[in-house]
Every structure is written in C-alpha cells, then in structure tokens.
Symmetry: C2
Subunit: 245 residues, 2 copies
DNA sequence: CCGCTCCATACTGCATACAGTCTACAACGT
DNA sequence: ACGTTGTAGACTGTATGCAGTATGGAGCGG
C-alpha cells in the first residue's frame, strides 16, 4: 500500500527561490516579487483534482503530496487550507484532507447559484458595455461559431468560457467576478465527466445576448442570460438522468 | 515601537489539547473531535477585525499575533491563509498580512452581490417553506417589531440577521448559503462605522415578504426581497454621501 | 541641505522536529 | 469462532530553527 497514485511531470520548488539575479535595475517601483511556493502548490492541486488524478474521497497525505511536488509539508498545508475554503477538499480534524465528494444535490445547487450570478452579471454588463467591448464580444462570438462549425468541442468550451468571462469583466464588479470564478471552477470539475458543450443553439442564445448588451437593454440581457444558464442546467440534468438509466 | 495594539481577554491554546476526558462513552459513532487551534485563531482574528481592534491596512505580524493568542506562528499562518481567501486580509509576498482596506466601490459591490443572492434565496424559500417554518418566521418578525418598539438597535440588528439567516435556511441551498454568509460578514464589517438599522419601514417590508413566502408566491417574494435589499443599499449610500459633506 | 549607499534589524517563507492521536492488526481470553 | 485489548506504525497538529529578503536609519558624499 501507500503507492503514490500521483503523477507529476516535473517537481515543483526547483525554481531556485530568492536571489533573482544581481540586476538591481532602476525598477524601484514595480518590484516583481516571486510568488510563494504555496501558490504553485495550490494551483497544482486544483489541476490534479480537476483532471482526475486525485479522485473524490481520496485521502490526501501531506507528506506524500509534499515529496511529489518537491516541497515540504508546510506549503502543502497552507494550500490545503485555502482549498478547503474554496470547496475543493474537506479537512477533518486529526484525519487530514480528503478530496471533496460532490453530491448531485450540491452540483445542481452550484449551477443554480451560477445562474443567478451570471444573470446579474449580464444585467450589469448591458448597462456598462462600451462599443469596443461589444466589438470584442462579437469577435468571441465568431470564434465560438467557428468552433461549432468545425465540431471542435475543445474550442467550443474555450470560447464559451472566454465569452462568459468577458461579460463578467464588462460588468465591472470585482466581488461578483470573484464569486463567479469560484463557482465556475467547481462546476467545470463536477460536470467534467458528463460535460459536452451545447452547440449551435447555445451560440444562437449568445448572439441574442450580445445584441441585448449592445442595445444596453439590461432587463432583456438579464432575461436571456437567465434562460441560457437555466437551459444549460436543464441539459446537465437530463443528461444525468438519462445516463442513470 | 512594536507596542502590541491587540488586547485579548484570555490566551488561546490554553485549553489542554488532546485527552478529552476519560469518558470513553458508547459514542463510537459521533466522535466529537476537538477543533484545531487554527479554527480558534481564525475566529478570533475575524472578531478582532470586525470590532476594530485590528484596523484596515494594519500590518499583522505573525509572531505578535501568535504571542497574543498564546500559540505559535504555525496556526496563525494557516488562519491567515483562510482569511485571505475570505477577503479579510491581503497577503503580500515577502511582506506578510495586512488587514484588507475596503474601498467604497468594493463595499457597494458587496451590497449588490448580497442583494442578488438574498433575492434568489427568497425565491427559493417561497417555493419550499413549510407551515412550521412560516410560523417561525412570524415569530422572528414579532421579535423584530418588539425591538423597534423599544428602540433597541442591538435587538433590531440581531432580529434582522436572524430573519434573513432563517430565510436562507428555508431555501435549502447550502452553496447559496455559503456565499451569502461570506458576503454577509464582510458587509457587516464594512458598514459597521455607519451601520444604523432601518426601523419601522424595514419590518413592514419583512412582513410583506413573509406573507409572500407563506403564499408560496416566488415571484412576489423575490421582488419584495430585491426591493428590500436595494433600499438598504440606497440607505447606506445616502448616509455615506451625507456624512461626506 | 538633499540624496545615495551600506548595514543592522525584523519578518517572512520554508524546512524540520516533536508530541499526541488515529488505525490496523495481532495476541489473548471467553 | 468471536469479541476484546494491547501495541506498533502512520499521520496530523503544533512548535522551533534557519536562510533569505524587505525596511529603516546611520553614515557618507555631493
């Protein structure tokens, strides 16, 4: 037992910390500080969880992770703290960290919350979008449609994420953006096993949405986004039901 | 310098960890594990931030906090990690933790997000409330009105929080509840300096809201909650403007 | 008088060490 | 055979140690 299930391309923490060269340039203002190891560990663990290397329910032994990532237990522990508050792992006192096991109920709740947040985001975006931003939205829309044409699932997912993220950016509400980002990543994880991007109809809805935003029609944009996200939610629901049979 | 600004009634971590009594009762199922120190540190720090002992922008020196709380730096660091992701402090690489300084913009964004989340919560609650729960809502309503009668600001705030929290509970969406809780605490902190509970009219709105929930009218409950929270937001806004003069 | 360089101090970030608890398994008794 | 108890190993939680960087001020030069 205790065979390391984790596979990692290269050990972390080999990046020669500190001493970033003797170039004491005149850059006294923007001092680019090196990100702490715990950040890298945090990202690496999320990646390992999302791509399924670390399975839900799995016990994460600190020493094991530490050796694998090439660091000590300390940065790992700090990363785990953060992962817990972000909902990726559960920390049980005196037992350690376990990859969070999402229930169907919780997954659906996440979609519900995401729907509400994104709907609000669309409303704000409609009120605040500049012409340049609308132009950029159409650009992303074209990218998405191109992906649909070529039946490029990867591309569809990417373009979809980019579009939604940009709408969030346009809404200029950092707090809202944080909450959306948090929910978004967990959604991607939970539904990864059954994720199949909606194709043509989804992008038709996107086009409607962009029109509403361009017209600064907040109510309409809000309505469309709500319908859009609820449809996605329904699609996931149907899919899960059908696969359960 | 380095005079400790923090005052704490009793040192933490004096609770004789481990060995929770020799009562090895038949409770083999629900093993009540002792919460790690970092939990206590986390709570203590939030309390210190909310009550103003730790001021926005203040540099939190780990060793200082540790000595005050009667623990080592380790649990403090782990608590700080969590506090950062929850938005209470900012961690600057190689510089440490600083109490987050909320901008007016951010504060208003928080109210905006809270409004959206609570509105959704009211909608769900209207669809799911049982008769017992409605009865409990009226009970809380009476408590609030009593506080208004006696002009008990403390009581008003408490009753208000209890009412909103219970509506969240009724909505039976744990993910939503988490996000609301997170936003809620930060709102209380940001607006603490100018917090003055709205009196009679707020509780009139609450009564309307409860009626809508009792009637299972989701749209109406949603509308009322939205108006309610937006009014609170407007009240804060006006107050801040008038105090800026 | 102002700016620069250099240095001492303080603090962070990471690593390691240690104490206590949990788990699993084996030996034992019934 | 089955349940109980004792015990060893593993892992967490906390403390301490150490290297490297940021900060503030003294001393020096302009």
């Amino acid at each position: 037992m205790n065979e390391p299930v984790i596979q990692l391309p290269e050990p972390l923490g080999s990046g020669k910390r500190g001493g970033r060269g003797a170039l004491s340039g005149a850059a006294t203002q923007r001092v680019e500080r090196p990100a702490p190891l715990r950040e890298a560990v945090h990202s690496a663990l999320i990646e390992l969880i999302i791509n399924g290397t670390l399975q839900p329910g799995q016990h994460l032994v600190e020493l094991e992770l530490a050796q694998y990532l090439g660091v000590s237990r300390q940065p790992v522990r700090e990363a785990l703290q953060r992962l817990q508050t972000e909902g990726w792992v559960d920390l049980r006192p005196a037992q350690g960290a376990f990859v969070h096991t999402p229930t169907e109920e919780e997954a659906d709740q996440l979609l519900s919350v995401r729907s509400v947040l994104e709907t609000h985001s669309a409303r704000l975006a409609a009120g605040r979008a500049t012409e340049e931003e609308v132009a950029r939205l159409w650009e992303l829309q074209r990218e998405g449609e191109a992906a649909v044409e070529t039946d490029d699932a990867e591309g569809m997912t990417a373009a979809n994420a980019a579009l939604h993220a940009y709408i969030t950016e346009i809404s200029r509400n950092a707090v809202l953006a944080e909450h959306i980002a948090l929910v978004e990543r967990r959604v991607r994880w939970y539904y990864r096993p059954i994720a199949r991007p909606r194709g043509h109809d989804a992008w038709a809805e996107h086009a409607e949405l962009i029109k509403a935003i361009a017209a600064h029609d907040a109510d309409l944009a809000s309505t469309i986004m709500n319908r859009h996200t609820e449809r996605t939610r329904q699609a996931y629901h149907d899919q899960r039901v059908s696969e359960a049979e």
